[in-house]
Amino acid sequence: MLVWREPRLSVASSHGDRMEKPKTTISQVKSGFRLVALILIGFVVAGMFFGGVMRLWFLGAVDRSTWSGRHAAIVALVFLMVSIPIMFVTMNRWLKVMAGFLGLAVLNGLISLGTGHVLANPTMPISRLYALSLTFFFAAASVLAGKMKNRKLSVVDRILVMAFLFSLGILISFQGQRELTKSEPFNSAYFILMGIALGCLPVAWGYDRLRRRRGHNLPGHHLEGPAGSPADPT
């Protein structure tokens, strides 16, 4: 109780410590609509990014019967030119969400492992070994992404996270095409793509450690500040 009445010079550490103004119904409704709008915008940007990566890398697999199919390379480039700058600049905001996606992907992998078929598609069986490899991949990625979410991201971090997502997009599309042709899921490209994707995140972690050792985390540098903090220039 005494702690509550003490003058606070530091940032509150938890929800229980914070003195919040009572929110009106209107402000809560506005906040809800803002969140929904942000989620929808996020879906559009993510869809454009992954769509752009997939189409650009596998132009041969694109359906040419439609206008966008015939101009797939241009569509993909436009998608990437729009989505990459947005994702790059706002990364501090969505990295935590990506970590959440990766975390739940582990749960999805475990469900697939237990059921023996792709998460929500009982007509598409998946071998236990394949499900296990995906579970390990997403578990490792979630742990590494979790290490990044609570610190300010440097340009190198951002590039490496984008490289991770780029590799993930190619991996999704590559494996998807192999599934369409009923090919064996395990192949050298599968492991190489997973390795590249997973390799990006430890490099970012190592680079951050190196920066700290060189003294960039002196008081005033705000390297320990949480993502999206006032110290964040984006």
Binding site: A46, L168, I172
Partner: protein, 174 residues
């Protein structure tokens, strides 16, 4: 490819139902589960499905990455109660954790209206006492373990919303 949006209506008029004639509720849920996922929505909103297959909503890696955990679990385990308990278990510690330390009085020193304490004596009554620090710590650890130590609440909320939409859609026949 996602063609579910084309099947949202029939020739006789508009309907929100997605359950085909003669299809059971469970069959409808399983059939449409892949469309009601974050990956499926990203395909739709990002127009990735327009230019060709495969995409996030249908490929194996895409489904594991951005699939709907709730409907996926239901599809996998035919909606048994054990499965529902497993999924709900990951969010319960977070909810309890948030309840600890929430103020429940009314006065100048409080924010929520739950009880009168105009004198302001005795501090802030709380939903669960602050002295239960051990419990809070334990719940925090459990929450971290069950949520894999990450902030997955937004993805879980999206999944839950889409699962709810799918359930409503499957309750209404086309």
């Amino acid at each position: 490819m996602n063609h579910w949006y084309r099947n949202c209506g029939n020739s006789s008029g508009f309907t929100l139902g997605i359950r085909a004639p003669g299809q059971t509720f469970n069959q409808c849920l399983v059939q449409n589960a892949k469309n009601h996922s974050a990956g499926g929505i990203a395909d739709l909103t990002g127009l990735t499905s327009v230019v060709g297959a495969p995409d996030l909503g249908t490929s194996t890696v895409g489904q594991v990455f951005a699939g709907n955990t709730f409907t996926g679990a239901y599809a996998g385990l035919a909606g048994s109660f054990e499965d529902i308990a497993t999924t709900a278990g990951t969010s319960t510690p977070d909810l309890l954790n948030a309840a600890i330390g929430s103020t429940t009085t009314f006065g100048r020193r409080t924010s929520n209206i739950m009880a009168l304490n105009l004198a302001g004596k005795g501090g802030l009554p709380q939903a669960l006492s602050s002295s239960s620090g051990g419990l809070k710590s334990l719940l925090g650890t459990a929450s971290k373990a069950l949520n894999l130590g990450l902030d997955a609440s937004l993805k879980a909320a999206i999944d839950a919303g889409l699962a709810g939409a799918e359930v409503i859609g499957c309750l209404v026949p086309r």
